[in-house]
């Protein structure tokens, strides 16, 4: 069951970084290839709209 993990140890790292760019920068400084995902919080509905929607749906 550890095959995937052992493969990770042996492979060149290719990283998806979701969130803090600090970590992307650190990996790029180490010559690691990184794809940055600029994740955003889902927009939060105002309470009154949320209440209306919860009644409708």
């Amino acid at each position: 069951m550890s095959e995937n993990i052992l493969k990770l140890f042996r492979s060149e790292l290719k990283v998806i970084n979701v969130g803090l760019e600090l970590f992307k920068d650190a990996l790029e400084d180490q010559s690691v290839s990184v794809a940055q995902v600029s994740w955003q919080k889902p927009p939060k509905l105002e309470k009154e709209y949320e209440d209306i929607l919860s009644k409708i749906l």
């Binding site: 493969k7 290719k14 990283v15 998806i16 760019e21 940055q36 995902v37």
Partner: protein
Amino acid sequence: MSTGLCRSTGSRTCHEILTLVRNVVKKNFHRDSVHLLKLSEEAKKIKGIKDVAVVMGTVTNKEILTRLGLLTDEGKAATENDMILAVMADSDDGIEEGLKQVEVMILKPPETKGRSYYSVDAALQAVPDANLAIVSIPGEYARDVVRILLDRGICVHLFSDHVPPEHELELKQYAKSKGLLVMGPGAGTSLIGGKAIAFANVIKRGKIGIVAAAGTGLQEVSVLLSEAGLGVSAGLGTGGGDVKAKIGGLMMLQSIDALERDPETSAIAVVSKPPDPNVSRVLLEHITRQTKKQYVTCFLGSESYIIPQAAVGRVRRTKTLHAAFSEAARCADPDHHTQIMSRFTLPQNELKSVANEASKGLKEKQRYVRGLYTGGTLAYETLIILGRLIGNVYSNAALDSKLKLSNSYQSMKDSIIDLGEEEFTAGRAHPMIDPTIRKMRLIEEAKDPEVAVILMDIMLGYGSHSDPAGAMLSTIAEAKSIAETNDRALPILAHVCGTEQDPQPLSEQEKKLREAGVQVFKTNALMAIASAMISKRDTLSSDALSDVYDHFLGGF
């Protein structure tokens, strides 16, 4: 918008000067703490401004703004979902101009160097052969993102905190079923393929594998192995929640199995704060029955487990990070173990000489230790050692709930403060990145006439401040000057956790501290012992000292 007329306070200036402070609150406006730290540093360069802070309106941030003299009634009303722009200047014009420029800065979307993707799916399409992901988004949203990554067969380093335990369990069970790793939540450090993931150091490749439910514990052991010339094959951080009853050590076990099969790994160190007793039993049974390699267990101070006879010799117990390093070094190079350890450990009489020298000029009533830590596991190691040497030690992360500080911002008698705990970090960059909170605390401790010695960790590596020792120098000088003005000495001790290959080379960081009059120690454990020698002097029990030397610096 309101203006407060405040006095500069504390460390900011020796004489009181009237200054203007204004806060503007941006409702429901969010940026991550590291971005806001950078922005605040940039805003400090605006002409005419005396000080500025741009922070989310968490309780912690409001407490710190108050202490900096930067909070007004407007800011007090902000919630954790709001952003506070706090500006201090000598004139209304200065405030107006400063705020105008800060507002422009915050409205700019965060810049991304190079290309970025707006969804995980888009990034996966662009990099179909990705094999690792780092996730550092608010914990409540982490499950959905991690699930997508696991579906694609990708191991995840989950840095996020506040992931609900039921989400953690679900993700880890799923990862286990797919033969993958979810390192975290709350995983600060990993070392994979010779690369530092998140807060980690540049570590020499070697034969020791490390599994850790303790981020700075992994950093300390890996750094010492690297500096000893031995190195690490892989370091897998599981997050502290993994060894709690609900999770049952799922990823600890998964990591142990992987390292057991890894041909590059000859011995494995398992490092954790004391696990739940049942998890501890499961881990030990697994290690003693299902493995063949050499193991070093370090459940930090826990003595409640016994290694079965059949595994004695192959599995070594330790109580501290220093001891885990020592035993791992023994596994990696038994022939040169004594020689290696002589570079990292001082004999008792030599450490006493160092402590005696540092104690010169202390007044009789200076009897207390104060530790200002950014690394939680290092603070924990110090609590264990001081607990044995001097008894009751107060802390915001106390080993015994009776010794928990009622106010984390106020030390009592002997106190060790973990500045990485929630009450100091909510909505702020971690003190390994932002030294503000430790600088403020160092001045407060220096003013206390009963403090004999202050100790601190300086964490190097990727993720940390670009010059953590340099960032403390002016405050160290101020702290020493406060003591001197009051006709006292104030020994300050430091342990720099890092390697010569780190972005902030170890020797340069140590040199800066030594030149500022700081006593530097090779390991955190040695620093902790020295702090007890300095503070308790002739009242320190020689039996306790011998016990620590015999059982806390090596296997037991």
